[in-house]
């Protein structure tokens, strides 16, 4: 050990002593400052604190824009007038509420309640009305003397340029609610602030909302502005670039007009959402402008459930779409080969029960490819029996059915249901009958799927077996175009099926469009592969909705080699999928690949797009 140190160095010790002296002086100076403020000037500040005339008001930051994948603006902001009341400047709440209510033509009770809610922070103005009209503005200015504490300000209001288009994916914004203010995650929010409530607006709220600024002002005894003291400029939020393709979205919305149900288009190689239609829809602009109570009641009591995000939350029987799963399971276990034939006389009898085909006279003897192309029920009754429910259920789960896709979304994603004998025994307490297998073979019975699960499955078939988690925001960008955050494909897993089986599925789907039930989806110049489906509306469901017509399904991917789009269409209570859903898919595929509308093009061969 080295020589023991009894002190570092006398020099340093001396400096430490001098530091002590310095600290003493510094603290004495601070104490003198306290003496000055609290004793010498104390009375003055005490008076100021009683008549505190400084006001701090929020300057809301404009939210970032939302753009489609090519940069087209879908959501922006536009200026609108808002009316605020500062509780500290109001002598009598009820009287003030009456006066304000008379000018705004609003119920005074509601205004009084808003002001009272803001009384805990009396220096902060409370928002009482948004989207005030020009004449009302004039009326307020005229009566300013009788309206203490009232101020009008211009604020950015969210504008959804295409109204109800893609509303469920975009979401909407509204004022932060009282219930939200009570929650920990909204601790930093103030009453009246705008916040994303659903969809992308909510999911990416932290990026889009920006940073609010504030204004420091001095007011007179009636709460009127005397002068500005300081202003901290708000910083607008970041822009979102979606994976959505506005062209496809519009084509889908147009083709689906008047129908109920869902359309989702996805890029099969990446899982990017290209189009997202949920109908009936709603206009998110109404929420941004503050929805009236009646409009809200109307939205939530509408039997067609316009607020439901159908691709994510609606569960349907898959109908004949499930034949793809049965086919894959049969091929995988060896129960079926492309050469396996069954006869179809138009019905199939199992014990005492007869199961019909949708074609009265039957399809005759068919092999697997023909049966898929013509969606022969009788063939698949027998194929399902031969394959067995366990293999079918296993492959269904392999394709992601019966489980959430895991998409980042607001609102509960439905998981669907893949029934198995074990499930039926434990949940319903009944045994599994061969008849259950038979109807599961054509996607009826207890099985339930969501449109999003189905498009994810179709994408996996198209891309050679990779199940992707769907996603819809590509990038978060600053106004200068700098990338703040970027997102990419999220493969969930590879489907455990051989490449040969997947290839046969694709060939089968090609046959459906080229020469089967899906001819309505043919697009000139592009090879389309698809599958039709028709889900019977069961009696219980029909009794509730009063609708007895079947749901029409159609799924597709295109181009056949090197697919760029996978799509699902479901039209509720509309009839045969090949008739009602396939044309919708065609319209979307035409928008993506087909010749420009209204103009004959000369050479539009398969390679013309490249």
């Amino acid at each position: 050990m080295s020589r023991p140190w009894f002190s570092p160095t006398p020099v340093i010790q001396g400096r430490i002593h001098r530091t002590t002296l310095l600290v003493t002086v510094a603290l004495l100076l601070l104490l003198m400052r306290f003496w000055y403020l609290q004793i010498l000037e104390g009375r003055y500040y005490a008076t100021l604190s009683i008549h505190n005339r400084l006001r701090l008001r929020l300057v809301e930051a404009p939210r970032g824009f939302i753009l489609d994948r090519s940069g087209a603006v879908i959501v922006e902001n536009r200026p609108s007038f808002s009316v605020y009341v500062t509780p500290a400047d109001i002598p009598d709440v009820d009287e003030a509420a009456r006066a304000i209510g008379a000018v705004l033509r609003q119920a005074p009770e509601e205004i009084a309640a808003r002001i009272r809610a803001g009384q805990a922070r009396p220096a902060y103005p409370v928002l009482v009305a948004r989207e005030v009209s020009e004449p009302t503005m004039v009326a307020i200015e005229e009566r300013k003397m009788n309206l203490p504490g009232v101020s009008v300000r211009v604020q950015p209001t969210r504008a959804y340029l295409d109204g109800d288009v893609a509303a469920h994916l975009l979401g909407y914004v509204s004022e932060v609610t009282q219930e939200q203010l009570y929650r920990d995650e909204y601790r930093d929010f103030q009453s009246g602030e705008t916040v994303g409530q659903t969809g992308v607006e909510r999911l990416f709220d932290a990026f889009v909302r920006g940073i609010n600024g504030r204004e420091e002002i001095e007011v007179d005894a009636r709460g009127r502005l005397v002068r500005f003291l300081d202003r901290l400029e708000p910083q607008s939020g970041f822009n979102l670039v979606l994976t959505l393709d506005a062209k496809l979205q519009h084509a889908a919305e147009k083709a689906f007009a008047g129908k109920r149900g869902a359309v989702v288009a996805m890029h099969p190689q990446t899982g990017e959402i290209l189009a997202w239609v949920s109908r009936p829809s709603y206009d998110p602009n109404l929420f941004a402008q503050r929805l009236s109570r009646e409009s809200w009641e109307k939205l939530i009591t509408d039997p067609a459930h316009p607020l439901q995000n159908r691709p994510l939350q609606a569960q349907y029987a898959p109908g004949s779409i499930l034949k793809l799963v049965v086919m894959a399971a049969g091929l995988d276990t060896g129960a079926l080969t492309p050469g396996t034939t069954f006869a179809c006389p138009g019905y199939f009898t199992l014990g005492a029960v007869t199961f019909d085909d949708w074609e009265k006279g039957g399809h005759g003897r068919q092999d697997l490819m023909q049966a898929v192309a013509h969606s022969c029920n009788v063939y698949f009754y027998q194929a399902a029996l031969k394959t067995g429910i366990d293999a079918i259920a296993r492959v269904a789960r392999e394709f992601g059915l019966g489980q959430k896709t895991g998409i980042a979304a607001v609102g509960d994603e439905a998981a669907g249901l893949v029934p198995t004998p074990a499930w039926k025994r434990s949940v319903l307490g009944e045994s599994w009958y061969p008849g259950d297998t038979v109807i599961t073979g054509i996607g009826q019975g207890m099985i339930l799927v969501t449109p999003l699960q189905i498009v994810t499955m179709v994408a996996a078939i198209a891309n050679g077996g990779t199940l992707h988690r769907p996603w819809m925001v590509k990038r978060v960008e600053s106004w200068g175009g700098e990338v703040v955050a970027a997102y990419g494909p999220e493969p969930v897993r590879r489907v455990n099926l051989s490449p040969q089986v997947l290839e046969l599925l694709r060939q089968g789907m090609l046959g459906v469009v080229e020469d089967g039930t899906g001819k309505a989806a043919r697009v000139r110049g592009v090879q389309v592969a698809g599958k039709t489906g028709t889900a019977q509306v069961v009696r219980k469901e029909a009794r509730i909705s009063g609708q007895t017509k079947d749901h029409g399904w159609f799924v597709a991917f295109a181009p056949y080699t090197d697919p760029e789009i996978a799509i699902v269409v479901i039209a509720e209570n509309a009839g045969f999928g090949g008739v009602v859903a396939a044309p919708v898919a065609r319209a979307v595929l035409e928008a993506a690949f087909g010749p420009p509308r209204g103009r004959e093009t000369v050479a539009q061969g398969p390679g013309a797009r490249e």
Partner: protein, 366 residues
Amino acid sequence: MYLDRRMLANIDWRIAGTTLALIGVGILTIWSANLGSPSPPRQTLYLRQALYAALALLGLLTATFINYRTIARFAYVIFGVVLALLILVSVAGEVGRGAQRWIQVGGWTFQPSEFMKLALIVVLARYFEDHKERLGHPRLLVIPAMVALPPMVLILKQPDLGTAVLLGLLTVSVLLLVGLRVKHLVFLTAAGATMAPLLWSFLKDYQRRRVLVFLNPELDPSGAGYHIAQSKIAVGSGEFFGKGLKAASQSQLHFLPASQTDFILAVLAEQWGFIGCLVILLLYYVLITRGLEIAGESKDIFGALLAFGIMAMITVQLVVNVGMVVGIMPVVGIPLPLLSYGGSSLVVTCIGIGLVMSVHLRRFLY
């Protein structure tokens, strides 16, 4: 960890007592500042602070009974680890920045920048101990300045100007202790000034904007910044005896911004008046002067610099924060040590105090 009765008997109760008192006052003030808040999560903030305090005291005890020579041995490792964490935050935090509120829903976030204060003190102390024969040599002062720069840049980029400036002041005060002359200081300042444009060029567009907005209140020429004005009203209206816990209208009515973090002293001054402020400053005075005494009594350079650096950290934060609250210094986001709401700051300060006590405990032992 080595413990015996002589060490226990040598625990410095002046330091321990003032620390506990200040933490207690902090919790009480956070509780009362949010009494009238309409938001239930805010009303229970003081409970969270109590939890942080328990954690911080655990850190204090651990640091006290660790032989600080062990800290000296691992000084460079400690600095490296904290620096790596800072880099991690700047890389991973890039994505999470805009989404901070989104990701840290109610949870506790770890701030490496706070721990960097201690790490920097430790590494500087070790460096000068290694070169104790040539203390005061000008060349010895350049390397430490270079060591302090990377963390300062990283923290500035976060952007957290307050902590970055604090690190700078810390470095300067340690350098002054080991023999930095005023003319060297001028040289270093000039060097720093030439670095500034380079630093600026590192920042992204929106970050620059944030830094500018951050700087704005300081540059306010009218001096009529809302924060300062309201804070002065709160402090002044407390007069001699204060308004009492519940009658403090400035803080109750939420005229005061950041009433439980940076401006907590304004709440306290309104509630307890000049008497309260006097007591608080006295507590800090006892804590700091005792800490400096311990630095002077240390048997080695590392212990002396460690204790001195930690006391410098507390003093600078105290003076800057109080100066801001009474309106004689610009608004930079620096919390009041031991009193302000916030977990990382409290834990770091307490660990620091524990280290000072460790230096004290081992002044005779070897």
